[in-house]
């Protein structure tokens, strides 16, 4: 009995040794402060081209201007990112800073994961230097928990060929003109007219808002009487009417061809999308056609609610358990100044810094003007901690209404009822 047992022990200890050696070798790389520098870790989700600018331009300049701070960049994949952040926060392993989707900020702020920045030195200066609506996405309970690092919105993009075939000479300015153009395009043989990305908030809101719909009251505290108001019902009914008349592309219910595919092949008349439509398609290596050539851009057509697009983008937040909050704040402030904002805008990201966004050099990027113009009237998705939860209810009911499984009134009444309950949480 004794000999075999000692053998097992021997093997176990070899395994343990393996663990320890692996552990120590990887440990040495993660923590270092031998040269008296402070290392701040920055989680981001920049794309390939954007990451290149971040690594090769932003990082060297920042580290040169702040010799005592070292920037550690970690690119995170999207899949399961939220759980990663939650695990990081609860396990005290979150980074110092993160570039986070604007709609997450209130939620994480409510969780107590983020550091409030509105009381920090220099906050007012930052606040006055950036666009107002992106800044507002950082608010929770009257205080700010982050700063907007880049913004975006969607504009109307039309396929030139389809417009020509339909005999439409310029981008529609109003929702009526849009519907009329879609009708003509459809009659001229287009596979789809208005291409709404999907039956969800991000896809439907520009039309819903522009057609007069609303989600909440002004200060985001009440939904009943707003999301199910007669105006909202009318807005959604209009969209469904388009669907019945065949003016919408099949994409709204996930049909094929996809939105980009339909535009690239000149089968759809119009889609609404962000600047990435151009930055991605223009960077294709062996593209057959230049998207700048075969599309026309316009603002989201005006309806009773105005020309209301939806704001996207990312905020820079500092985690509450950051070990170096001061240095992190230094970086956040610096990142919002004109120079780095301009550098990042080379990739098609829209700066939040007013000076950088209005810089003539930036406006020379061939497709950005319409985006900057659209930003002035674009709306943020309701900045409440419960947004993700509410969004699920909204999406489901919208889809049911579009599929005709529920009347518009019923769908929006149910959204209001569930929304009110969610708001109280």
């Amino acid at each position: 009995m004794k000999t075999p047992f000692s053998k097992v022990l021997g093997i176990l200890s070899i395994i343990a040794l393996l663990f320890v050696s692996a552990c120590s070798s990887s440990d040495s790389s993660s923590e270092e402060s031998s040269d008296g520098k402070v290392t701040i870790e920055y989680w981001h989700t920049y794309s390939d081209q954007e990451e290149k600018v971040l690594k090769e331009k932003i990082k060297p300049i920042f580290e040169k201007e702040h010799p005592n701070i070292k920037l550690k960049l970690t690119r995170m994949p999207y899949e399961g990112l939220k759980q990663q952040v939650i695990a990081g926060v609860s396990g005290n392993a979150a980074p110092d800073l993160m570039r986070m989707d604007i709609i997450w900020v209130p939620e994480f702020a409510k969780m107590g994961a983020l550091k409030e920045v509105s009381s920090l030195d220099g906050f007012d200066k930052v606040k006055s230097s950036v666009f107002e609506s992106p800044m507002a996405t950082n608010m929770f309970d009257g205080k700010y928990y982050g700063v907007p690092v880049n913004t975006n919105t969607k504009i109307a993009i039309y396929d030139k060929k389809v417009l020509d075939q339909a005999g439409v000479t310029e981008a529609p300015k109003t929702m009526q003109e849009l519907a009329a153009a879609a009708k003509k395009a459809k009659d001229a043989g287009a596979k789809g007219g208005i291409t709404v990305g999907g039956a969800n908030a991000w896809g439907v809101l520009p039309y819903f808002w522009s057609l007069g719909g609303k989600l909440t009251n002004e200060d985001y505290t009440k939904m009943d009487g707003f999301v199910n108001s007669p105006e909202s019902v009318k807005a959604l009914e209009q969209i469904i009417l388009w669907k019945k008349d065949g003016l919408l592309s099949p994409t709204i219910l996930g049909g094929e061809p996809g939105a980009w595919d339909g535009i690239k092949k000149h089968e759809y008349m119009m889609l609404d999308d962000g600047p990435w439509f151009y930055s991605v398609l223009m960077n294709e290596e062996k593209k057959k056609e230049d998207p700048l050539e075969y599309t026309v851009r316009g603002l989201i057509p005006e309806g009773p609610g105005g020309s209301r697009s939806v704001i996207g983008g990312e905020d820079l937040v500092i985690f509450a358990n950051s070990k170096h909050p001061e240095e992190a704040w230094t970086f956040a402030q610096w990142m919002l100044t004109k120079e780095p904002q301009k550098l990042m805008s080379e990739t098609g990201l829209i700066p939040t810094n007013l000076n950088a966004a209005k810089d003539p050099e930036f406006l020379k990027v061939p497709f950005v003007k319409e985006y900057v113009d659209q930003l002035e009237t674009a709306l943020p998705r309701t900045p409440i901690p419960q947004w993700s939860e509410f969004e699920k209810v909204f999406n489901l009911n919208i889809e049911k209404a579009i599929r005709g499984k529920m009347s518009v009134k019923e769908a929006l009444d149910d959204t209001a009822k569930q929304g009110e309950a969610i708001l109280k949480k």
Binding site: L18, S47, G80, I86, S90, V280
Partner: protein, 280 residues
């Protein structure tokens, strides 16, 4: 009993069903393979484009040189390899104990073991992370191995216990007569006779950890230490993804699993090793 005509008919039906089955399984795979040859697949290419494509390795080359793909490939090999050996070895030891030893609360313990298999990873991730963090093993492969092997042992124990119990107890007597102990019985009888089961388990274990994304991303914080599934996910963009790249990367990621399968599948056929080892 059957005339030649009917048996021919049935043969035809059986072959038709089999061929249909093969087609159902292989066509998506071929479609995926062909998609990897398409340029600029930011929108999923249509069947007409996919079937008219000329095979080339451009996308494979791009993918291999992007997002530290090669580095992550090696990292994954190390992680999945050690986890496979670890969970198989510890699992076999545990299964041997459950199969051959009598001790109090044996069945209760075994049930508890199985119970841990039923907790979804997403639910367990925060407590697991806290434990790993308290052990100081965040951002180390040791932490990852602890979770992978810990999780894998349960499955292999369950699987191997059943197999061990089919091995005739009398075989042990030959060792006992020669003065050998439990270790020798385990090492010289149980392990060699369980090669088919061990081979199967090795494939499961390897492909399980090779594909694992969520835990790896949570435990590993340094970009340089990341694993292959994380690199795969990096090809999914925020607004648009190049599907040809994603598929090309997936095909590369698939190769080691196929290789492992080829290595261990030999053992599948050799079942019933203990047959004829005893009289009557």
């Amino acid at each position: 009993m059957y005339t030649t005509k009917t048996s021919l008919f049935w043969k035809f039906v059986v072959y038709a069903v089999l061929i249909l089955g093969v087609a159902v399984f292989i066509i998506p795979f071929i479609y995926m393979l062909l998609t990897t040859f398409v340029d600029n697949a930011y929108t999923l290419p249509r069947p007409s484009e996919v079937f008219s494509v000329t095979p080339n390795l451009d996308n494979y080359e791009t993918v291999w040189n992007r997002n530290n793909f090669f580095r992550y490939f090696l990292n994954s090999l190390l992680i999945a390899g050690v986890s496979m050996v670890g969970s198989l070895f510890l699992g076999a030891l545990t299964a041997y104990a459950f199969a051959r030893f009598q001790f109090p609360f044996k069945e209760f313990l075994f049930r508890m073991f199985l119970f841990t298999m039923m907790i979804p990873v997403v639910l367990a991730i925060v407590p697991q992370f806290t434990v790993i963090s308290n052990l100081g093993l965040v951002n180390t492969y040791a932490g990852l191995w602890l979770l992978y092997i810990g999780g894998g042992v349960v499955g292999s124990t369950f699987f191997l216990r059943g197999f061990f119990e089919t091995i005739p107890k009398e075989l042990e007597d030959s060792i006992r007569i020669d003065g050998g102990g439990n270790w020798r019985i385990f090492w010289n009888i149980y392990l060699p006779l369980s090669k088919p089961a061990l081979g199967t388990m090795a494939i499961f274990s390897f492909s399980g950890t090779w594909d694992e994304y969520f835990v790896a991303l949570t435990i590993i914080k340094d970009e340089a230490l990341r694993t292959l599934p994380i690199a795969l996910m990096m090809f999914q963009g925020q607004h648009a993804s190049n599907w040809a790249w994603i598929f090309a990367a997936s095909i590369i990621a698939l190769l080691p699993v196929v290789l492992i399968y080829i290595i261990f599948q030999k053992h599948f056929v050799k079942s019933g090793l203990s047959e004829g080892s005893m009289k009557g």
